[in-house]
Symmetry: none
Subunit: 226 residues, 2 copies
DNA sequence: CCGACGTGGTCAGGTCGCGTGCAGGTTCGA
DNA sequence: TCGAACCTGCACGCGACCTGACCACGTCGG
């Protein structure tokens, strides 16, 4: 089957067998794969980075734990997959709004399956890399752009890889060799000077959006974001 | 008059001629239009997005395929019409419960015609192909058209699928491969250049309605809506 | 049965921008 | 002060993309 994208591996943490079943069936019917956890403990065991899940569906109201705690525990374990929270109606005005801002999403129970499916697809699509925010600068891999405040600048693929590599560890110095390896992953042999050209272009684009951070040179070592 | 107004186009996939006849007659008597498929193959051929059906009635127990597989195949083709599954009694406790919770529905054979009619109406009502609005652009799946402000342009089915895929996440870059997979869900091998032609046609049509958003190219990656 | 029409798909040629390298100037560290 | 490291501006080639046309096929009305 070749339809709209690749299969997504979805991790579900839900105590209610009925809801679990509904979700599992619907997701499988749409060509996705499912990993199940019945409670917080199983979630931590089964839905970590090693599980290979790409999207998480977590019930906020678990018997043994809050879905947000589960999320936090998974995140602590290096699991960065986007989360779709299932929440009861009365919790909506609580702190749920916060989820949405974080790139994660939520649906209110009782929910329509179709809604869950749509959101799972959306999360997967934009999740591969979630927008990376670094001191007022946000990188959007799905848009190939960098934004500060409201302004946004689009980057070429190579520019983006380079900036992403340098921004990966804010404050740390990215060595020239490391930057080259990141921006040219195929191991192409590029002129030492080429990277300077790209750094320059990045500086111009960062300036065009009044970036709060500067791309500075550490002479003899590499580059860093300040 | 009982039925609430507009005619609904119902797609039926059912192998039993008797059941087919009963459904067809009842639906037509209530002012609906019917498109028939005798098996899974015909369903995929006749009940896709291009058929214009608004509600699907799928027999779960087809000779050549499971109704759920048929549903999956149709969904992959961009057919998002709600489904009413016809299922045998013994399957109820199977996984059918899952359908009812979602946007879709089911009835158990043998069923009362009136029940089917009620559910068809309910399904249609709650899933009227609402136009999808994206930054001033609205896509009308039921009319295969795109509108901005007051102006409207009609699209061919392939054009619509392509635009819908790119518009799914405004601002995000839709990769060429993904766009191809969306516009040609059957996995047809199309010339790499073909998609360019369609993008061009879409651009022309978007321009003809003074679209507020532009279909721009992200060189080396894909397309995006800005 | 035939021709008009809409749709899907292909092709050849032209355009354009990304990736790249170079030359010359400038800054920094010793 | 001197050399190396870095910055700046620019030019160029190739491949990705755009453009406008063409053709094959199915549908429908006459």
């Amino acid at each position: 089957m070749v339809h709209d994208g690749e299969m997504t591996v979805v991790g579900i943490c839900e105590d209610d067998p009925g809801v679990r079943r509904v979700l599992t069936d619907a997701l499988k019917m749409h060509g996705h794969d499912v990993v199940i956890a019945r409670n917080g403990r199983e979630a931590v065991d089964n839905l970590g980075v090693r599980s290979g899940v790409e999207v998480l569906i977590l019930d906020v109201g678990l018997p043994d734990a809050d879905g947000r705690d589960v999320c936090q525990a998974l995140r602590a374990g290096g699991q960065h997959a986007p989360v779709l929270f299932l929440t009861a109606l009365d919790a909506v005005h609580d702190r749920v709004a916060g989820f949405h801002a974080g790139g994660d999403d939520y649906v209110v129970k009782p929910f329509a399956i179709s809604e869950v499916l749509v959101r799972v697809d959306a999360l997967r699509r934009r999740s591969r890399p979630e927008p990376v925010s670094i001191s007022g600068l946000s990188l959007h891999p799905d848009r190939l752009s960098v934004a500060a405040d409201g302004r946004e600048a689009t980057l070429t693929p190579t520019e983006f890889r380079l900036l992403a590599a340098i921004a990966a560890e804010p404050g740390a110095v990215t060595r020239r060799r490391a930057a080259v390896a990141a921006a040219w992953p195929d191991g192409a042999i590029v002129n030492e000077n080429t990277i300077d050209s790209y750094v320059r272009r990045l500086r111009v684009k960062l300036a065009s959006i009044d970036s709060p951070v500067e791309l500075t040179t550490v002479r003899g070592v590499g580059f860093t974001l300040r």
